[in-house]
Symmetry: C2
Subunit: 178 residues, 2 copies
């Protein structure tokens, strides 16, 4: 079965600070037309770091869509066109106060492929050196440390639900087991 | 540090077939106000199944936000209020033509916690019996079979980027290794 769709019209409904929303009209393989609601997002980067004692800095912050505090790996949004490695290093330092001597790229993740353009890059940070945390003025988060085994338990008990965090933890476990 | 935000205003900007977009004004812990762009999504469910020969049915379909065909586990959107287990069984049958004798719940995933209310449920389906595939009229996808090892390689080579699919594969590998 051929699977391509051809975009024949596109209308921007909302232009925000972070996201835009557009509606595309596409032509399907059977010639019929369909509408696709698409959210444009600049993407982001997250960093799972581990210090020499096997401790992983995690952040807790309030997330408006769920109305509660979630446990996540440190992460930041990209500006359009920004280098994701530079952004990752900066966000990891700002949020946790750590610099790393080596970064391993675990690849990119598409959080919700049906309607969202967001691409999220995942790094593993090794050789951590403590510097100073520098949160943005309107950024409120707490840093806590966990072992990889503790985080794997939290994933399997489904206490951690954030997709980038789950993938970073599971990828790190496989990477370190090899 | 206290982390709560208090919503003091909410404005709906877009009401679509699948998603809505609203903008909330929230009061932060320091008393200042901030805006939160939030996409409301009904959520979904995905199913990673494995037959008696260790083969896992996967689907390839065109994804408008990326303009290309992606490899994913079978999945479907929920209607608001719909039971995710019933939806998962139905979508798995419709897309792949398989029924399962046992389902294991791997838990819920939040694809993009900063702005998106979507919750995605993940099931592992065992004891597969072949029935008939029933695609919706405007649904175009191809089913292909992979072993778990092949899928793990595709995840680690970052050929598979869809978040739900990466998590389903990595969770299944841990589940079966115990």
């Amino acid at each position: 079965m051929k699977l391509t769709e051809k975009t024949i019209d596109s209308k921007l409904h909302f232009k925000g600070r972070v996201i835009n929303l557009r509606e595309d009209t596409v032509e399907l393989e059977n010639g019929s037309l369909a509408s696709r609601e698409i959210v444009e997002h600049p993407g982001g980067v997250c960093v799972i770091g581990m210090d020499e004692n096997g401790k992983i800095p995690m952040v807790r912050q309030f997330r408006a869509p769920f109305g509660r505090v979630l446990l996540e790996v440190p992460a930041g949004k990209l500006n359009y066109g920004e280098d994701h490695f530079e952004c990752g290093k900066r966000e990891f330092l700002e949020e946790t106060g750590y610099e790393a001597s080596e970064y391993v790229y675990f690849g990119a993740l598409y959080p919700s492929v049906g309607f969202l353009t967001e691409t999220l890059h995942i790094y593993y940070a090794k050789g951590l050196t403590k510097k100073e945390q520098h949160l943005d003025e309107d950024e409120f988060l707490n840093v806590e440390f966990f072992t990889l085994d503790e985080l794997l338990d939290l994933v399997e008990q489904n206490e951690i639900k954030d997709a980038k965090t789950v993938v970073a933890i599971l990828r790190l476990a496989r990477f370190l087991s090899k």
